[in-house]
């Protein structure tokens, strides 16, 4: 047997005392009846101390303290209380009501579940049931509030509905809403709003009604208002109080009325009365405006309108502005009006329409957008008579883009007609508008174009061209071309070189005898150990005879092995071009250390060919780069054949060393060059030194200012037939002049026991100091020239350039009959200083020598009439001269009192600047 709840109808077990679903006391088989308002097992006490001992008291307390009760429901106090008193059913409901979205409704639901005896019946009351709002204005916007009250017990629940045909009255808290749900326990304010946009002037009253339907009863509130029509006040339409009246007035005088339509007076009048102006879009001009209004009111029939062209194709570059137009027209004799909108396509801009009776032109400005090249489609909307809507399409072919805009060069004849920029190709043939007005003037020129780019390109090209010239000068002008001897001439020399350069560019094997006496393998020492080195890149110079005779050496060894160069860096001596030795046999570390004491570095570049140059006229040469790591120094050795000072032939070798400090500290760097002089077969050539009366055939040391600008050596000691004349120039533009010069015997090992400091004589392995001894100390005699550039402080990444030129010299002796000869050396440029030297033989102290000085030359040192002396050997007389400021060829003549004569032609020329245009 089961028990059915009389209240909710749910089935409960027979043992149940209360309905599980609604908590009502069940009437079981024993005959129990529903017990209302039972006593609570223990009192419920509110936070303010109010005590409830029965359910009725509890419910009344809920109504009295509604807000607090909702909190108790929310914080589970009620559900916990019901749990404690053994009413799991009520606790369940309390928990269910607790999670209601609206706490008012939740508490109300719980109250309905409680076994109470009191009747809960709310009752709705309103303040007034009829409200007259009086005379309103269409511009009014007003808020209204209606007070609602609950005079009964319980929560009022229901909804309010506004019945208003024009929706001029709505609920205020929801714009435009005319229906609203409401609930409240005691009282409520209903918020209403007058919608001014929906207020329409009329000769009739406005009415509205609100129906509030709740569990506390249904109420109606009636609203009424009046909005009188404002009459039209202007012109021929004055006094019109309705659109129809206004139309009838306009019909009587359409041309005058049209002005009121055009200036929007009519539209404003409509607005002031709250009416919707029937004409969409902007007003037409002229009588068409009246036509437009009549059509909108449905008073006349709209003409049938068409559009031309249906679509337009055009093309252009980004930034181009293209003017297009569409024409709306009608075949009927009625006014046509239209207006356009282009909001769908941002690159189209519609201008106001130009109306001409039954034809309307709508100008469209198209600014080609900066988008990727290709076909693009745009669309505009054109509204015309009778609400006709046209949507013509505009096809735009975007060419290129704004950045790559080509320069505005006219196209050639074949291309210009068909495929050009900004062309307008209507897809249909619209008749020409003869007599019509042209489209309006476009706005200001756009600034999108980038025509400056080609100009920038040209400027960059010009800059680059000049940069090339600058780079060329910087890169190539520090090569020998810039440091050529001041004897360089602008005259084209015989470009067939008279001398050749031979370099030692193979590995060198060195034998070591006792006491580290080093010799080349071909040397005479008995080798106890052998080592190899990188090529020395030492060089030899020899003449290149034009006949079949053998070439003559100008240094002892064809590859310059008997010469050597030494660097003195911070007091330590290092051989230039001679790297560390590698020993094939195992040697002791001490030996290898001692053997390599003065060898460091390696070649970074070897024998790089320097091509000959036509202007300035220079021969070919070689450049090699020697790098030392500790200390960090780089030396570039450059050898180049250049024209001789007076011969104007490629017969001289410019030897140049560029020594650069590559470290990060200042270094004291000096350079010494030992030249084993030799001419043909003569290894003991005597030297002519300008200013010295005797030829040097013994030894000589000259330092600083006494170092001459040049030296000469004769192959034969015969003025009639001097053979080859060698010229060593020490003064070269761009190169430091040596600080010290020594002439003497080549430092043969044999000198070690003969001369003081002879132990320093180690032939090609002699270090910085080359002991000076007479050329004829050894048999056979052997002469050598040593040039010193004393150590000088060089900052990091700074360099010093030293060197000399060595080649063939000039010698005039054919007329002197072996008694006189004449030669010159020095600077043969305008205002340059040079030395004229006469070789004298066979004269006595009774004789004298006259120099005939050409016009313009200034004698700096010496006399024009020089007394001679008696001498068994040849001797020299020198004159220091200064050249005139102008160019020219001059003949220097000498004549002795004995009647011997000799002459020498000297050409003074400017350094090459290449004429007026370089």
């Amino acid at each position: 047997m089961v028990l059915t709840c009389n209240r909710c109808g749910n089935i409960n077990p027979k043992e149940a005392a209360f309905c599980f679903f609604d908590g009502i006391v069940l009437q079981n088989g024993i005959g129990q009846s529903v017990v209302k308002n039972p006593e609570l097992p223990f009192p419920f006490i509110f936070p303010d101390g109010r005590k409830c001992i029965r359910y009725d008291e509890l419910v009344l307390a809920f109504f009295d303290e509604w807000g607090e009760s909702k909190n108790l429901l929310k914080d589970k106090s009620l559900s916990q209380y019901f749990q404690k008193i053994g009413r799991a059913d009520l606790a369940y409901h309390a928990e269910k009501c607790r999670v209601f979205p609206n706490s008012d409704l939740g508490l109300d639901e719980l109250i309905n579940r409680l076994p109470i005896s009191i009747s809960i019946q709310p009752e709705l009351q309103v303040e007034t049931e009829r409200i007259n709002l009086g005379i309103l204005n269409p511009t009014d916007s007003r808020d209204l509030y209606i007070q609602l009250k609950n005079t009964g017990l319980g929560l009022i629940k229901g909804n309010a509905v506004i019945h208003c045909p024009d929706f001029w009255l709505t609920f205020g808290d929801a714009a435009g809403a005319n229906q609203k749900a409401l609930h409240f326990i005691n009282e409520n304010k209903l918020h209403l709003k007058l919608q001014n946009k929906r207020l329409r002037a009329s000769d009739k009253n406005l009415n509205a009604k609100i129906v509030i339907d709740t569990n506390g009863g249904t109420k109606e509130i009636i609203f009424s208002a009046t909005i009188p029509v404002t009459p039209f006040a202007k012109g021929c339409l004055a006094g019109a109080i309705s659109p129809r009246k206004l139309a009838s007035l306009a019909k009587q005088n359409p041309s005058v009325a049209a002005l009121l339509f055009e200036d929007n007076s009519v539209q404003d009048w409509y607005r002031s009365n709250g009416w919707t102006y029937p004409v969409p879009g902007p007003p037409a001009s002229g009588v068409a405006a009246v036509q437009q209004f009549f059509e909108a009111l449905g008073l006349v029939e709209a003409p049938k309108v068409e559009i031309e062209p249906k679509s337009i194709e055009c093309s252009g570059f980004p930034g181009d502005k293209i003017s297009l137009s569409f024409t709306v027209f009608s075949e009927e004799r009625k006014h046509v009006y239209a207006h356009a909108s282009s909001h769908e396509t941002p690159w189209l801009h519609c201008s106001p329409a130009i109306i001409n009776k039954n034809k309307v032109v709508i100008p469209i400005d198209l600014v080609v957008p900066d988008v990727s090249p290709g076909q693009h489609e745009g669309r505009i909307q054109i509204f015309s008579n009778g609400g006709k809507l046209f949507k013509p399409r505009i096809y735009l072919a975007v060419k290129g883009n704004g950045i790559s805009l080509p320069p505005p060069i006219p196209n050639d004849a074949k291309g210009m007609a068909n495929n050009f920029l900004g062309t307008i190709n209507p897809s249909s043939n619209f008749p020409p508008m003869n007599g019509a007005q042209a489209p309006p003037i476009p706005p200001e020129l756009d600034q999108y174009r980038t025509r400056g780019i080609p100009a920038i390109f040209l400027a960059l090209l010009l800059f680059a061209g000049n940069f090339v010239a600058l780079a060329r000068d910087i890169l190539f002008s520090h090569t020998p071309s810039s440091t050529i001897a001041n004897t360089l001439t602008t005259n084209k020399p015989d470009m067939d070189p008279q001398v050749t350069i031979t370099t030692n560019d193979t590995e060198v094997e060195i034998s070591f005898g006792e006491g580290l006496t080093a010799k080349p393998t071909a040397g005479r020492a008995n080798a106890t150990s052998k080592g190899t080195q990188e090529p020395h890149m030492s060089f030899g110079i020899q003449t290149k005879p034009t006949d079949n005779s053998k070439p003559k050496l100008l240094v002892r060894d064809p590859k310059g092995f008997t010469n050597n160069s030494v660097l003195r860096i911070n007091g330590n001596d290092w051989f230039f071009g001679q790297g560390p030795l590698k020993f094939s046999k195992k040697s002791s570390p001490e030996f290898m250390l001692a053997a390599n004491k003065h060898y460091t570095g390696h070649w970074l570049k070897m024998k790089q060919l320097i091509a000959d140059s036509k202007f300035p006229f220079l021969g070919s040469g070689y450049s090699s780069l020697w790098a030392m790591t500790n200390p960090s120094v780089e030396i570039t050795q450059t050898l180049r054949i250049i024209p001789g000072a007076q011969t104007n032939k490629l017969d001289t070798v410019l030897v140049r060393y560029r020594i650069e400090n590559r470290g990060n500290k200042n270094l004291n760097i000096g350079f010494r060059f030992l030249l084993d002089t030799f001419i043909g077969t003569n290894d003991a050539v005597p030297f002519l030194i300008p200013g010295e009366s005797e030829l040097c055939s013994t030894s000589l040391i000259m330092e600083h200012n006494s170092v001459p600008d040049f030296l000469q050596a004769l192959e034969n000691n015969n003025l009639n037939s001097p053979g080859t004349v060698a010229n060593i120039s020490l003064q070269n533009i761009g190169l430091e002049k040596p600080d010290k010069l020594t002439l003497g015997c080549w430092p043969d090992y044999r000198l070690q026991d003969i001369i003081p400091q002879g132990n320093k004589c180690k032939e090609a392995f002699t270090l910085w100091d080359v002991p000076v001894a007479s050329i004829s100390t050894l048999k056979p005699p052997d002469s050598a020239l040593t040039l010193y550039w004393n150590p000088k402080e060089i900052q990091p990444f700074k360099a010093r350039e030293v060197g000399f030129s060595y080649g063939l010299g000039t010698f005039a002796g054919s007329q002197g009959q072996g008694q006189l000869a004449l030669t010159a050396g020095g600077s043969f440029i305008p205002n340059g200083e040079f030395t004229l030297t006469a070789y004298v033989s066979g004269h006595t102290s009774a004789d004298s020598l006259d120099l005939k000085l050409p016009l313009g030359f200034k004698l700096l040192d010496g006399q024009e009439k020089t007394p001679l002396r008696t001498s068994q050997s040849k001797y020299a007389i020198s004159w220091k001269l200064k050249a005139p400021p102008s160019e020219g060829e001059s003949l220097f003549k000498i004549e002795s009192s004995k009647g011997f004569k000799e002459q020498l032609s000297i050409q003074i020329k400017k350094p090459p600047v290449g004429g007026i245009f370089g």
Binding site: P408, A436, R449, L488, T490, V913, G918
Partner: protein, 299 residues
């Protein structure tokens, strides 16, 4: 092309042509006066050619006229350069310091030679003669100034280079000197045309928007035919010869040449020859041109 851009182009083209003229001259193997003369010839020819081509493009000369003009200017300017080289080298041989004078003379000769074509082809006592004369004076001034500055720079840089590198043949001094020479000649030739102008048209829309065309001839035809003084290529709504502007003592008159779509002046179609005033807007086809005129003392 606006006037400003035209002047810039003139200067740059002049500079570039002069530079390339010098570069070509590097291959000359002769020496002395002939060498200088040939270098002057190269420079003058290229400057004359480059500037005249630009001028022909800007003035939309037809192909044959443009070629004739260019060749004549190139030959004359080349001759000017040649002569300048001879005189300059002669002066230089007298004294180094006369180098600048030599350059100045060379510049003047090249400048005059470029404008000689227009000077000789214009009729005496006409507006075009005065236009050509004014242009020649400015070209001469440009050449002179360019030669003076270029020569001075050449001299200064050459001295500096000799001091730094020692004597030699350098590229930088003549490259910079000739660039400046050409720049100045081009600049003055460009300015000459722009400053002498009396009236001009400015294209307001379309492909040639911003282009300014001087109305130098008694009749200037507007059309898309090659050879029109106001050539507007690409606008197919413009006839080959659409309208013309006639220049008279009273001013400039616009006339439609029976074009199908007509010619509009200030948005109204013209039916007869109409006097133009500055800022008038002319519309031919889809192209609008603004007529601009210098203030006239009397009409």
């Amino acid at each position: 092309m606006s006037f400003k851009l035209f002047v810039i182009y003139c200067a740059l083209i002049g500079g570039l042509c002069s530079y390339f003229g010098w570069a070509i001259g590097l291959f000359i193997q002769t020496d002395g006066i002939l060498r200088a003369a040939l270098k002057g010839l190269c420079v003058g020819t290229l400057i004359g050619m480059g500037l005249t081509v630009l001028d022909s493009i800007w003035n939309s000369r037809n192909f044959i006229t443009g070629i004739a003009h260019t060749l004549t200017a190139a030959v004359l300017a080349g001759f000017g350069g040649f002569l300048g080289g001879i005189i300059g080298e002669f002066l230089f041989n007298i004294h180094n310091s006369l180098l600048i004078l030599g350059w100045t003379l060379t510049g003047i000769l090249i400048g005059v030679a470029i404008s000689a074509f227009e000077l000789f082809s214009s009729k005496p006592n006409t507006q075009s003669r005065s236009f050509a004369l004014g242009k020649a004076i400015k070209c001469m001034a440009g050449g002179g100034v360019g030669g003076l500055i270029g020569g001075a720079l050449f001299f200064a840089i050459q001295l500096l280079w000799v001091k730094v590198f020692g004597p030699g043949i350098f590229w930088t001094p003549p490259a910079i000197g000739f660039s400046i020479l050409g720049l100045a000649i081009g600049l003055f030739i460009g300015l000459a045309q722009v400053l002498i102008k009396e009236a001009w048209l400015r294209i307001e829309n379309g492909r040639w928007q911003g282009k300014e065309i001087i109305l130098a001839n008694p009749f200037s035809t507007i059309g898309r035919k090659e050879g029109c003084e106001v050539a507007i290529f690409g606008d197919r709504n413009i006839q080959l010869e659409h309208a013309c502007i006639r220049k008279s003592n009273a001013g400039f008159f616009l006339k439609d040449l029976n074009s199908p779509d007509g010619t509009f002046l200030n948005r109204k179609i013209i039916k007869e020859e109409t006097l133009l005033t500055s800022e008038d807007l002319i519309q031919t086809g889809g192209t609008r041109l603004k007529f601009l005129e210098k203030t006239r003392k009397s009409i």
